[in-house]
């Protein structure tokens, strides 16, 4: 643990040095827990929000979190210098749609809409960076209840503007951006021909379900970084089932957490 940055409550940013970990792909996650704490019992899944290779060959990952329960409380209470367990990188990230159509690998064409709800922005951090690096233009739609929920707005403004895109904010109380839900400007953007060929989203279930509907109605493909209660994060407990449209189940931790918008039974 390098440092814990207390962001406006209840948000926090952990920077952790991991000795032996492959860099994460956009959308991948790690399982982490507080230092030497027997409780809560299970580790917690965190998207890798940011990462950088250190000079000594180790990797420093950043985890953007929100205190919502015992697990996140324990993590937010970590102290610099403490050793915490980290397992990862895990799961399958944004790849199918993102790389084929609006590829962060530079192979595709077209623009992307990234849609985050609150702390869901953590799941889009590496994707936004990758798109910016590849010179793929994207707009970042960032919705929250209130201004303090748009915790990394400036980062996403910078990244999107670098690609010729923009940051669009909404809050339910009108304290930042337009008052209302983020799906409203997303719909408007699609209607106005903003040139999106893909939509990638991470946030509350209701938001992702709405984005899937909007994307389908506009004939745009996309992906969502989903979240379910997770036991192990590496495919052993089979606890993190996501119901698919074909009636089957997929494991969020192994086949996901990123799924095509049109394959999940929202």
């Amino acid at each position: 643990m390098l440092d814990v940055q207390a962001l406006p409550l209840p948000y926090f940013l952990l920077r952790v040095r991991v000795a032996a970990m492959e860099p994460a792909e956009p959308g991948q996650f790690v399982m982490v827990a507080g230092a030497n704490r027997p409780e809560p019992y299970l580790r917690r899944a965190f998207s890798v929000y940011d990462q950088e290779a250190a000079a000594d060959g180790s990797l420093v990952i950043s985890l953007l979190g929100k205190v919502i329960g015992r697990g996140t409380e324990a993590l937010a209470a970590c102290l610099p210098g403490e050793r915490i367990p980290v397992l990862g990188p895990l799961g399958r990230g944004f790849h199918s749609v993102a790389s084929r159509i609006s590829g962060y690998d530079g192979s595709g064409s077209g623009r992307a809409a990234l849609v985050a709800g609150g702390i869901g922005s953590a799941g889009l951090g590496l994707l936004a960076q990758a798109l910016a690096r590849a010179g793929r233009s994207f707009d970042f739609f960032y919705g929250g209840r209130s201004a303090e929920d748009l915790v990394e707005a400036e980062t996403f403004r910078r990244l999107s503007e670098r690609t010729g895109g923009r940051l669009v904010k909404t809050t339910e109380d009108g304290s930042a951006g337009e008052r209302g839900l983020i799906t409203v400007p997303l719909k408007a953007g699609l209607r106005a021909g903003a040139g999106y060929t893909t939509v990638c989203t991470c946030g509350p279930h209701g938001l992702m379900a709405a984005v899937a509907g909007i994307a389908a109605a506009s004939g745009v493909v996309g992906e969502a970084a989903t979240e379910t209660p997770m036991g192990c994060g590496y495919g052993a407990c089979l606890g993190c089932a996501v119901t698919l449209k074909n009636g089957g189940y997929a494991l969020c931790c192994r086949q996901g957490p990123v799924f095509r918008l049109d394959e999940v039974a929202w």
């Binding site: 827990a33 027997p38 019992y41 052993a236 089979l238 089932a241």
Partner: protein, 314 residues
């Protein structure tokens, strides 16, 4: 042998569990480590004493709808619903990769009817790589079958007898803790011809989401596992080991070397590690190292000398 290698192999942890000879008494429990092979990059499979597969049925099963798990104090509830790839795919795709590894492969079998257990046992019987079968007669997460076989001594004895006639493999019967007297079921399993008992499966429990005011799990009830159940499981292992003349494999919230020792002292000949693997996939191998270290520093010559020591008169 280098100093390190010597330390890694001494004292000898090998142990006998009925007809099974294990390189050490640490196994992974059914449903907590898949089929083993898929985690070869996350754990050193070579160092396990044994590996019990996810419960296998005749046909693949998709499992229960979400929500399937709920964290609790000191553990978790699960209602996975026996999601598995089916016995045939296990035998053709997975077993070949496991059969030459040092850990003994115990195949956990589950059926909705007695006939299905018999057919499953017949199916795995010809495979040399299968060291034993473990009968899941106590899964709390399926609406029919399974659990009823594990709750009635007469039915259980009859089921084990039929499986006995279908296979020459050692038969492990996994006992349910959700009965008044698990030792009665253990005795029935022995009467039917079981070679080994494993104890215990998960305890039936539930959790309620106070925000939605609804049960957390889609199936309402689930199986409780983790450190929370250790004292309960230990008591059952103690009673079963004393009262039934069969070797016992202890299961229930095992996470530390002391947990392993407690189960051995209570009368278990080996243990299965389960939910702790969800926290750390290397738990089992860590326990192998820790147990060896403890035996060495304690001047304890073998695992055998510990088994049941707590039940002997002073």
């Amino acid at each position: 042998m280098s100093g390190d290698a010597a330390r890694r192999s001494s004292p000898d942890l090998s142990t006998r569990v009925g007809p099974l000879r294990l390189q050490n008494p640490i196994l992974t429990a059914s449903g907590t480590f898949g089929y083993g092979l898929e985690f070869a990059d996350r754990a050193d499979l070579h160092r396990l004493g044994g590996l019990v597969t996810k419960g296998l049925s005749l046909e693949p099963l998709a499992g229960n709808p979400p929500v399937r798990i709920a964290e609790t104090r000191g553990g978790m509830l699960n209602s996975i619903g026996l999601q598995n790839i089916g016995v045939d795919r296990f035998l053709s795709d997975v077993l070949p990769g496991l059969k030459d590894l040092p850990p003994k492969v115990i195949v956990n079998l589950f059926g909705y009817a007695q006939d299905e257990y018999v057919r499953l046992a017949e199916r795995v019987d010809p495979y040399e790589g299968v060291a034993a079968v473990e009968l899941n007669v106590s899964c709390p997460n399926v609406s029919k079958g399974g659990i009823e076989f594990g709750h009635d001594p007469e039915i259980l004895a009859g089921l084990v007898r039929r499986v006995r006639s279908a296979t020459g493999k050692p038969i492990v019967v996994k006992l349910s803790p959700n009965v008044t007297s698990p030792q009665d079921l253990g005795r029935a399993a022995k009467d039917g011809g079981a070679d080994i008992l494993s104890a215990v499966n998960t305890f039936v429990g539930m959790a309620i989401d106070t925000a939605t005011m609804r049960p957390v799990l889609s199936t309402v009830r689930g199986g409780l596992s983790g450190p929370a159940i250790k004292p309960l499981a230990l008591r059952i292992v103690f009673d079963v080991a004393r009262e039934v003349d069969l070797p016992v494999i202890g299961i229930g919230g095992i996470e530390t070397v002391d947990d392993v020792l407690e189960f051995l002292l209570a009368g278990a000949s080996a243990v299965q590690v389960g939910t702790a693997l969800f926290r750390d996939p290397r738990t089992a191998e860590r326990l192998v190292d820790g147990l060896r270290e403890r035996l060495r520093t304690g001047g304890i010559p073998s695992v055998d000398s510990l088994i049941g020591a707590a039940a002997r008169p002073e």
